[in-house]
Amino acid sequence: MNDALDVALRLLLVFVVFLTFPLIIGQTEHKVMAHMQGRLGPMYAGGFHGWAQLIADGVKFAQKEDVVPAGADRRIFQLAPAVALLPYLLVLLAIPIGPGEGAVGEVIDAGIFFVLAVMGVGVLGSLMAGWASANKFSLLGGLRTAAQLLAYELPMLLTAASVAMAAGTVSLPGILDAFEWWWLPWQIVGAIVFFVAGLAELQRPPFDMPVADSEIIFGAYTEYTGLRFALFLLAEYAGIVVLCGLTTVLFLGGWHGPWGADGLGWVWTLLKTAVLAFVVIWLRVTYPRLREDQLQKLSWTLLVPLSLTQIALTGIVKVVIQ
């Protein structure tokens, strides 16, 4: 009974995080992006600096009509947002925010593989949406999504493998237990490659060719309205949470910090995640969208060699220090 209660509590907590953190990041994006462009951003909803803007957006989405195009494949069209969103909920289960069993949704032995595998499944949602919409722009968006995923899955996996090699385990809490501060310079290249590849996999600017609104009018999501569209947006921001959390755990030492007692590890995790989320927004504001061939070139000629170099470096150092 106690076990069941424990599991239920953890699931509930993860669910709450899943529902609130993406909204917080979305609101931060509204405000940070506005100020980086010399604007103020939302100021009215909720009274104080537009804090309730996304809640108002949600209400608006919920009121909209749920339209399925006449030529669309109805069932796949309707299923796609769930396929896009749920994997991130599962991934959140595996990310530890503090030391010990109590601070992670569920300890998974092959944590890295679980996380990367399930994140890859999320892209299926975009593919399904792109194909089932019966819209050529959506189809183009789906194609671009698939090409992007294929190009960036490899460097992501390789750099994650580098960390796993360094730690000697593929379990996320295990990696954090083995973390030392000098891993930071040691794995810095891998960290950057992982972060960039993750951004590309989330289709965040500057890697947002699949949803390029000015070229292919939001790609796979062209035909979506109302709640289903909101689910896709939520998936994107949940993806940011997951990516930043993962980068924190794998490369930035998670709950380890220069100061702070044992009980405050989760503060460090959240702080690092928040800083990374800010960087995600910052990159979005700063850089223009890459062209499709530039995107492929970046992955194959820069990120993959860099990640291979990182693996080689990790292996050499690992052998030397043993």
Binding site: D3, A4, V7, A8, L11, G71, A72, D73, I76, L90, L93, A94, E106, V107, I108, D109, A110, F113, F114, L116, A117, V118, G120, V121, V123, L124, L127, M128, G130, W131, A132, A134, L139, G142, L143, A146, A147, L149, L150, E153, L157, T169, V170, S171, E292, D293, Q294, Q296, K297, W300, T301, V304, P305
Partner: protein
Amino acid sequence: MSLAAAAVAAATTTTPPALAAVETRGFLSPTGVEIAFLLVGLVTFGAAIVTVTTRQLVHAALWLVVALGGLAVEYLLLTAEFIAWVQVLIYVGSVVVLLLFGLMLTKAPIGRSPDADSGNRWAALTVAVAAAAALVWVVVDAFRTTWIDLDGPAAGSTKATGESLFQNWVLPFEALSVLLLTALVGAIVLSRKTKTESSSPSVNSRGATGSSSSVPDSRNHPIGRKGQAEQEGAR
């Protein structure tokens, strides 16, 4: 604990499955895990059948996702966590995405494709049944008396898999990787050959622009240029 973790993660049930006692070994007194195994197996089997019988191409690919996912759950129930996640990662995450990419490129229609049926349906069925029979026979014969102890340390954990792979099975592993490498090199050779034949008139222009690596990819043939860059990278 790891089994509970996996099951919870896979099915998002709020109650951990009952870890049954392993003393009662027999098909007639099934435990909870065995029932789950059978049910998931049925779902996987059904999805696989639909995959090969449906007339809608993309639906077939998506049913393949269900079948492969069901297979991953079966691995989980057999405590082979690492294999399960690699299965999801490689097959669902990459192979099916590649498949869908191909289907989209060929403009797979929404709805039934009348020409999605093969003429040699019976021959295919025969081969499939024969292969299935052989595999089932081999597996049953090999592991008939092998039982997984659910209470002890996981028999299929990453550590166990790694040790077994790199201590007992290193040679097959390396042979397989050489085989894959050969396939990779072969694919590159094949694609290069057809490419030089088809685009022989543009050799000069390519030589002119391809000499400096800092020049961005040429605008007129991004795909061909990219392919060449990849091949050079792989070489």
